[in-house]
Symmetry: C2
């Protein structure tokens, strides 16, 4: 059974933690204020613990990074070492108002995270998936929502792909980690649809259609 440490106990961290607990993984939420994280919705029937960021990283084989972008560097730098661990980066380098990206094109949030989390095997994934969709489930009339993932470590990517697939998502390999330069804008496209055009966050999802 894989153990998961979740950094960031906000809406996305809670949803991904619950999703992974639902897949039978043991989850520890890391938080700057563990006493606050204890208030997370109980993941009934599954073991989950709460600790500091550093405790969550030490606990997990897989670390989920689900912090607000403004805090991400600080959280990553204070919670290592990450050596050899799989770091699932589902952050987006959003502006504080979440209406744009603070970086892109020549780099990506994921590439920056990989510099900060030395030794981690970073995989970008789930960043274009709303927490509400994780809760509602990936199945639509036209098929299952896609999870695009990218990274430079084949084994880490395969592990993340499996976690997407076990939960009913359709994982699609989007290439090396630098392709987060495409996946982070894709998340921002979803933000446009959900926040500006008021589509329900659990009512829309990206899918890669394929002829079979």
């Amino acid at each position: 059974l894989m153990k998961v440490g979740v950094l960031g106990a906000g809406v996305m961290g809670a949803a991904l933690g619950k999703y992974l607990a639902g897949l039978g993984r043991a989850v520890m939420f890391g938080s700057r204020t563990p006493e606050k994280a204890r208030g997370l919705p109980r993941l009934s029937g599954f073991r989950n613990e709460v600790g500091t960021y550093r405790e969550a990283v030490a606990y997990g084989d897989l670390i989920v990074l689900a912090t607000r972008w403004a805090h991400t560097r600080e959280v990553v730098e204070e919670s290592g070492p990450f050596y050899g661990k799989i770091l699932l980066d589902c952050t987006n380098p959003e502006t504080p108002d979440a209406r744009g990206l603070v970086l892109g094109h020549t780099t990506s949030g994921a590439e920056e995270v990989a510099k900060w989390a030395r030794g981690a095997r970073v995989v970008k994934a789930f960043n274009h998936v709303y927490a509400e969709l994780l809760d509602a489930g990936p199945r639509f009339y036209g098929g299952s929502a896609t999870v695009f993932y990218c990274g430079d470590d084949a084994e880490a990517k395969a592990c993340v792909a499996r976690l997407a697939e076990e939960g009913g998502f359709d994982p699609v390999d989007a290439g090396p980690l630098r392709n987060a330069r495409y996946l982070e804008p894709a998340a921002q496209l979803m933000v446009q649809l959900v926040r500006v055009q008021a589509m329900g966050p659990s009512d829309v999802a990206l899918k890669l259609l394929r002829r079979s």
Copy 2:
């Protein structure tokens, strides 16, 4: 019947011209070397003409921009005036090897095109759709491929959406023109899947799943 001028008689220009001719639009292909453009596959049963770039712009109510990025500025600047015309920008600001973008994040190809084509009502669309998919058609087992479009002129956007819908695509409004900063990376994601991972260009497409 709307008249369409197509700038760029390459693979994408030919495919979009054929697509629009198939929807009953009269098409003129513009080319630097009109004699070469005459060699385009005949769009049998539909009227289509060949002229210079400037003639194609003068001819069309809708102008399709389908040039290689390296030539785009020059072609746009020599083929106006565009005043009041709808300019459907399906270019991508790709590097010469088509494995990356030459600009993004703080601007987009579409925003640059809008500066060059003064007075045009620019809509970014079809840039993430492969020519081969236009030929093969948008219908997949899981539904119809999406055409994301963005722009700042509501009437021009509605016109482009209608052209997508008439051909069986699922048009999705992606907001203002600056959101081309998200749609151009989406095209590059498709390039990764098709050119690097060798998925068939008519075998994959993006779709926005929606709960109905």
